[in-house]
């Protein structure tokens, strides 16, 4: 279990409009931090949502998801890697 102080090892972005609500990511997620939303997206599916914490960045949801762009998985960089990535402009997001 993650401690309150520590950043999660990973996080995911779900493109709600690209999700077809098949639920395979929810089934696949080992730390069990995803679920299908009660609400609908514009095409009438219950999209998957990230519960907001607990992601390990393992990526199984990405590989379980049949849609090419519905899920993007991010992993936490070590401080050294983060510095390197910043200098190469590789990192695309910060928390």
């Amino acid at each position: 279990m993650k401690s309150e102080e520590k950043e999660d090892r990973g996080r995911i972005d779900i493109s709600t409009e690209e999700c077809k609500g098949c639920g395979l990511c929810v089934e696949a997620c080992a730390p069990n931090v995803m679920q299908l939303s009660d609400g609908f997206n514009s095409r009438g599916y219950h999209p998957a949502v990230y519960l907001g914490s607990g992601c390990t960045g393992c990526g199984v949801c990405f590989f379980a998801c049949p849609e090419p762009g519905a899920i993007t998985v991010f992993t936490l960089l070590s401080p050294a890697k983060a510095a390197e990535a910043a200098s190469l402009s590789l990192a695309t997001t910060t928390l």
Partner: protein, 487 residues
Amino acid sequence: MYAKSFQRPKSLFGEFSRKSGDHLTTHYCPGCGHGNLHKYIAEAIDELGMQDRTVLVNPVGCSVFAYYYFDVGNIQVPHGRAPAAATAVKRALPDSLVISYQGDGDLAAIGGNEILHCANRGENITVFFVNNAIYGMTGGQMAPTTLLGQRTSTSPTGRQILEEGFPMHVSELLASLEGPSYIERVGLFDNKSRMRARKAVKKGLQNQIEGRGFSLIEVLSPCPTGWGLTPTDACNWVKENLLPVFPLGVIKDVTADRENWNRRRLEVTPERVAEVLGITHATAEKRTATWTDSNVATCYRDPRIKLAGFGGQGVLFLGKLLAEVGMREGFNVSWLPSYGPEMRGGTANCAVNISTLPVGSPLISDPSVLIATNRPSLDKFAPEVVSGGVILYDSSLIDTAPTRDDVEVLAVPATAIADSIGSPKVANIVMLGAYIGLTNVLPKERVVAVIESMTKKKALVELNIKAIDAGIEHASKAHVAEDSWAV
């Protein structure tokens, strides 16, 4: 700081603009395995750095529109024919990464022959075979891989052995051939199977890049819509029902022993091509033959020659020889064979025109010359010879002279003469000698020149010259006296 670690592969379009309507999502149903496989293939193409060099051969089936998604060179082909088209793509572009992506109806049913022979040739391509035991695109009909008892729209009471036969194990069938290098069956039903599938996909592509020959990855893939199940239940159905019939694993792997299975064309210069084709652009002075000032009697000019005998007696060759010499002399010529099975063991005949005028009909129904080397040929064609024409026949083999009295008849014991000078095989050349000896239509030295250019063995050339001389001598004797050689 976070970095994207798993995201849409670059080899898939960011926006599906080839698709009408929604450009955001695929046309596949929720939970369909095609999307997963697309991602794994695209991921592997990215990792191998082959996006620009990839050519995807799109099938007919649910994945007919794979080109909506793959940002690579795309070719869409007829149902089942992807392995044939992919073969030619790979031969044309040996440095490209050629992928044939096919479903079970496409590959195992209508395209059974194409995949069988492509695999047997060991084509250096990669095939992805999506097996979901059903025809998805056309609405859930039975496939060769449909399970026994499985209900589909064309097996409404369930597939029966005595009706539709057994589910077809395509990978095992192909693995029994020597050609394929790598065949593995993977599944898309849980995390572990998906990770294994990713590895197999990459290996299948890597094999091709390394020139290791034919790779096929069969993918047991959920079809929730076709099966009438939720996506999660469909995954369970793969595990519980497909897996016992189609077990996962590497079915064949001889990649370690296979190298240089990529076919490359020879690099040649235009000069070399001309040499191969035997095209000579030497501007040899073109001769135009005429009969005027020649010693050829009018009745022998512009001959329409029918040559006939048993297959193997060399009458077709004799006809070609006459036409070749005629052509080099500057005449218009044609050579037309009777062709087909009758050439093999039966009778053979050909028609040769040698003319100062352009040859109209190459068919000869009214020959002015008949050269017959067996009895059936003489019987068949002697009546067709025009009045005033010439009949030469091999009197060693034909014991009855033609009964016509309105044509010139020369009996030539060609086989006996040929035998006496060394080989009965040159009987046809003896006939040729007799023909030119009788008619002077073609000069002997020109005939010899052509034989010399066609024959490499010196002894054979000499034998042929002896045969021509013997034929000419016979004709000149026969001209003054009744034939005394006849058997």
